[in-house]
């Protein structure tokens, strides 16, 4: 029964995607609702399939759909793994996904290629579900590449703008680098222990230990894969550019679900990472630097969506810090809360951009709190949540992460960095909030494009989730995920503790609101202070010079050296020898019969001479 539901969970979005496109081509207005129904149906199927796991979270089930292929007598099955972790991820994907589908109906209502959009969106849900439901690394790889593909298609959705198309390509290529790492990890595991199924890898590691170099390489490969998908240094640069896609896409793919696939994968393979403390240390350092750097860049950006994008990179960094500290459950908790408030933020940003007819620069906004009251409230709640202010969801998850990181003791005397990172979040979020809603209006507010109820409802739901998640989730989630994830104990803080921890963020928040207008007055000072963050630390340019240029040079060198040269030398040498020999031989052929007859006579004489002689 469960396996039937589970098949439905997967198949509904896939069929939905096909149907939406085929039917949508005839009547575009049907495509949105149809896709939303498919997503909601998948959500319902998830709930139905998860009944038994809700009751007893230790249950797990492997559903073998069919045999895919085999490698060295190792059968690679198209199989699904159904346990509390995959259920948890499926709920986020289909739940938040449904809300964003609903929102998209309103947001995309004037676009002619809606069917294509919704078909891609449903296809994305399918691949994302496949990713989290996969029973082995190869099926996960299908989902892994599939979501990358959908991300590419959706980022370059408005393909007439070449910059958007380029952003899509960049995202795909950076993800592809990560995918190569994942392939490498799979090869290592196949070679090392001959297993690709999660449960069997775990068993094998439990029995044989993990003191083998190729397992270390496997973990490293997985980490490379994860930095690509979850936008960590050194492969994070695609995510800010990915904001070229429609805003619901940014909310769904580049905030709530796909980018957290890395956290999911590392939690799934936690036993592998736990075996290599050195690697964990490396992950921790990279995550911290990513977090700090993205936070700094976010402070200096003027594009609303880019601010949120760098914020996402920074929050992902936080999750990775938790993962590196061994607190996988807490990282997943943050995945959930982040999905709520970041999706809320992105969708609110979508409302704002929609209302301003596509304007994305925060410097050209202002005074919107009167015009977009619902959006204003949601954005405020989500800003407070991401700033970790009690009692919103963000407080609980972030607080736990900071505690876990401190416990792990990686930072030592640098633990003040954590405070800096948290305060940076408060600064950039408050700055955007101030500039968008509170600052003096800089554009005509009369001709606003008011958001429809379809767009306000999902963000309101997300805001509500943001408010209540902190009270409900910690305890339940702890018990729920404990079979899949090792120790995961969250004790909710008391009211007084919560308020005490919230004092600093609130102070920074107020300070930012006070200081931002003053800083805007001293623009030159801001320019000097934020020179590097404003230019994103020149990472794109550095990559261009260090990677793209050498490869291009190499290619043109090979082209001129080998292609042209070999053709020229071999072919022309051949033709030259032929020509020279033919020219010298043609001297004999002077057209004079006398010469010919003389030559043949001589030849005969020579032959006779030799015959007689020998």
């Amino acid at each position: 029964m469960v396996s039937t539901y589970l098949t439905f969970v997967l198949l509904i979005p896939l069929l939905g995607s096909l149907l939406v496109y085929l039917i949508g081509r005839q009547s575009p207005s049907v495509s949105g609702p149809l896709a939303t129904i498919a997503c909601v149906a998948s959500f319902v199927a998830t709930l139905l399939a998860g009944q038994s796991i809700f009751l007893d979270s230790t249950q797990s089930l492997t559903v073998n759909l069919f045999s895919w292929f085999s490698f060295n007598n190792i059968d690679i099955n198209f199989a699904l793994l159904w346990d509390s972790l995959s259920l948890f991820m499926c709920l986020i994907i289909t739940g938040v996904g449904s809300l964003i589908h609903l929102y998209s109906i309103g947001y995309m209502s004037e676009d002619d290629s809606r069917p294509r959009f919704f078909a891609y969106l449903n296809l994305f849900i399918f691949f994302m579900l496949l990713l989290v439901l996969a029973n082995n690394l190869l099926v996960l790889f299908i989902g892994w590449e599939g979501v990358g593909l959908c991300s590419y298609l959706l980022i370059s959705f408005w393909f007439k703008n070449l910059d958007y198309a380029k952003a899509g390509k960049k995202a795909f290529i950076f993800n592809r680098i990560g995918d190569a790492g994942l392939l490498l990890a799979i090869f290592c595991l196949l070679f090392g222990i001959g297993e690709v199924e999660f449960l069997r890898i775990e068993q094998s590691l439990l029995i044989n230990g993990a003191f083998q170099p190729y397992l270390y390489l496997a973990a490293l490969g997985l980490f490379i894969a994860v930095t690509g998908k979850s936008a960590q240094i050194p492969l994070y640069v695609w995510l800010p550019d990915a904001m070229a896609g429609p805003t619901p896409v940014s909310a769904l793919i580049h905030a709530a679900t796909m980018v957290t696939a890395g956290v999911y994968l590392m939690s799934r393979m936690s036993y592998l990472f736990d075996a290599f403390p050195m690697l964990q240390h490396l992950i921790f350092i990279i995550a911290t630097v990513t977090c700090l750097m993205a936070g700094l860049i976010a402070v200096a950006q003027s594009d609303l969506k880019k601010i949120l994008a760098y914020s996402t990179v920074s929050q992902l960094g936080l999750m990775f810090m938790a993962v590196a500290s061994g607190a996988y459950g807490i990282a997943l908790f943050h995945v959930a809360t982040h999905a709520f408030f970041k999706a809320g933020l992105f969708l609110s940003a979508g409302n704002i951009i929609h209302a301003l007819h596509g304007e994305q620069s925060v410097h050209k906004m202002g005074g919107l709190w009167k015009k977009l009251p619902v959006t204003f409230v949601v954005y405020l709640i989500c800003t407070l949540a991401i700033s970790a202010i009690y009692p919103l969801a963000g407080y609980f998850s972030k607080h736990e992460i900071l505690l876990a990181v401190k416990d792990a003791g990686y930072l030592g005397s640098f633990s003040w960095l954590l405070t800096v990172i948290s305060m940076l979040t408060v600064v950039y979020m408050t700055r955007s909030f101030y500039l968008v809603f509170l600052a003096k209006p800089k554009s005509d507010l009369e001709h606003l494009h008011a958001p429809s109820i379809l767009m306000n409802f999902p963000i309101a739901v997300l805001a509500v989730l943001t408010v209540i998640a902190g009270f409900i989730m910690p305890e339940t989630l702890g018990q729920f995920l404990s079979p899949a994830i090792k120790e995961f104990a969250i004790k909710p803080d008391t009211l007084s503790e919560g308020l005490a921890h919230s004092i600093l963020p609130i102070v920074v928040l107020v300070l930012t609101i006070v200081l931002t207008p003053i800083l805007i007055g001293y623009q030159n000072l801001a320019k000097v202070l934020l020179f590097f963050p404003r230019h994103k630390f020149f990472v794109d340019e550095i990559y261009y010079v260090l990677v793209a240029v050498p490869f291009n040079k190499l290619a043109s060198l090979l082209d001129s050296l080998i292609e042209t040269a070999t053709i020229k030398t071999t072919i022309s040498a051949l033709s030259a020898t032929t020509l020279i020999s033919s020219k010298s031989l043609s001297l004999i052929h002077n057209g004079q019969i006398r010469l010919y007859s003389a030559l043949s006579l001589i030849a005969v004489l020579v032959l006779i001479f030799f015959t007689v002689l020998i």
Partner: protein, 516 residues
């Protein structure tokens, strides 16, 4: 019904020959059939006949076709098909069928030449006599040369000469090696034979193997092509007239890889084992090199040609692993490349038919003009970069996983090719599909093109999701060919007279070969 394999094979070989002869004699005029109609009829007939091969195989027929020709020299018309030949024949027939759909307005001579190419491809896939194989291997050059020089531009003529010279030079080595193989068999056994079965049951000494391996290798390396022997390929594919690049790119390379597998690996296993690391290095250079030059290439077909070099590299790398899964992955890669190359060059042909210009930059923004076309471009590009659930992923995965176990560092470089694949293929898509459209009129695909591309795509997906049938079949074939494990090969190197190697080889299962 009981189909005798030998009859099926004879019919399979004779159908295109007869078709070609009828077309040459312009037989269509007497019954008012257009050449295109006759060509299509013949290609359908070949596909239909080739479906009888597995039923004949499954019935356990060991009907080797055997006509004595020159028995004292061991040269006979002997034909046999195993699973690999069968799949390759089926795909070959399918590609010719598709080409018939795409190109309907050519003269009788044109189609006759195509059928001659089909004959030679089928012939070399089923011949189990070295000289007959060589005959078919050469036979295809002349129709190709004729088509290129008669219908092509002056550039195509140049390319045709280049192609002919390169391939003939390679084939010369093949001929010499074949004669030498027969001679060394004669020295050892006292009879002269070029029958593959006899030679498989004979163990060549190590030095003989090395020399013979090189002779065969050069010919197949030119045809495949393997890295330093590839320079004829971009020119030929880029200048082939009238969409013939579909046939060339889709089918010529398989002769090389098939030969490497059937003859180099089958007859000279020890030399192959010795040479495998070099082969792996060459294959990997080909993968990365092809990808880099595809990235740099400015012309559409040039890009696809270099991409072909890159893809073929995976196939060769698979053979070099000498691991059953790796080899079967390499063989599967042949079929995936047939489907993908045919798809890509069909797309290029469709573009050329609609708008003049062979550079990538001559096209822009086609996505908003021709959505169906764009759909196929994206799909085939993704298949070409071996996204999971396409056939190329399965082959590439098996190849890379097997080669990682044997050559870890080389494999890391091959993975670089996987990344670069995305760079050039998506760059190509972006350049031609996205942006503001440049031209007003670019018609979307016509029904024939849609049917051909869709059927290719369906095959790519079906074989990508359910590749079990093909991988199992190819796995068994690869295992048979490799029945001696590398360690055993090393043992045998000390004792070259050991017959153990030939046991279990596919053709060695045939018991009786009549020798008049």
């Amino acid at each position: 019904m009981n189909f005798n394999l030998s009859i099926v094979l004879q019919v399979l070989l004779l159908t295109p020959i007869l078709g070609a002869i009828c077309l040459f004699l312009k037989a269509g005029k007497f019954c008012e059939l257009t050449p295109a109609w006759m060509y299509n009829f013949v290609t359908w007939a070949v596909v239909a006949v080739s479906f009888f091969v597995p039923s004949a195989l499954l019935l356990g027929e060991t009907g080797l076709v055997h006509f004595s020709w020159f028995p004292s020299m061991g040269i006979n018309f002997s034909f046999y098909a195993d699973g690999l030949s069968y799949l390759a024949i089926l795909f070959t027939a399918f590609v010719f069928l598709i080409y018939g759909l795409l190109n309907r307005e050519q003269s009788a001579g044109f189609y006759a030449c195509l059928l001659l190419i089909e004959t030679s491809l089928i012939g070399l896939l089923i011949s189990v006599n070295l000289l007959v194989f060589y005959f078919f291997y050469e036979l295809m050059l002349f129709p190709i040369f004729y088509l290129m020089t008669t219908y092509g531009s002056s550039e195509a003529k140049k390319a045709a000469y280049q192609f002919l010279l390169y391939t003939l030079a390679g084939s010369l080595c093949l001929l010499l090696a074949i004669i030498y193989a027969g001679y060394s068999y004669f020295q050892a056994e006292g009879v002269f034979s070029l029958e593959l079965v006899d030679l498989l049951n004979h163990t060549f000494t190590l030095n003989e193997q090395r020399i013979l391996f090189l002779g065969f290798f050069v010919a197949f390396a030119v045809k495949s092509p393997i890295f330093p022997f590839h320079t004829w390929l971009p020119a030929t594919y880029s200048n082939a007239p009238k969409g013939l690049a579909i046939i060339f790119a889709g089918l010529l390379f398989q002769a090389g890889i098939y030969g490497l597998f059937r003859f180099n690996l089958g007859l000279f296993p020890q030399a192959f084992a010795e040479f495998a690391p070099t082969l792996a290095v060459l294959a990997t250079i080909g993968i990365v090199y092809g990808a880099l030059l595809a990235w740099r290439s400015k012309s559409i077909r040039g890009l696809m040609a270099y991409a072909s070099i890159s893809h073929v590299g995976f196939s060769i790398l698979g053979l070099a692993t000498l691991n059953p899964s790796g080899v079967s992955g390499g063989l599967l890669q042949i079929f995936s490349h047939i489907l993908i190359a045919v798809g890509l060059f069909t797309i290029a042909y469709a573009m050329e038919r609609r708008q003049s210009g062979e550079l990538i930059t001559d096209f822009r923004g086609l996505a908003s003009k021709a959505p169906v076309f764009s759909f196929f471009v994206i799909c085939f590009s993704l298949a070409s970069i071996s996204l999971p659930l396409t056939i190329s992923f399965v082959g590439e995965f098996q190849v890379l996983a097997a080669s990682f176990a044997k050559f870890p560092i080389i494999t890391c470089f091959a993975l670089l090719g996987v990344i670069l694949g995305a760079v050039y293929m998506l760059g190509f898509c972006q350049q031609i599909l996205f942006g503001e459209p440049m031209t007003e009129d670019f018609d979307d695909l016509d029904p024939n093109e849609r049917i051909s591309l869709a059927s290719l795509l369906v095959l790519i997906l079906i074989l990508g999701v359910l590749p079990r049938f093909a991988t199992d079949l190819l796995g068994v074939i690869a295992k048979n060919q490799l029945s001696a494990s590398p360690s055993e090969i090393l043992e045998i190197i000390g004792n070259p007279k050991d017959k153990k190697l030939s046991e279990g080889l596919v053709l060695a299962n045939l018991q009786v070969i009549p020798h008049e």
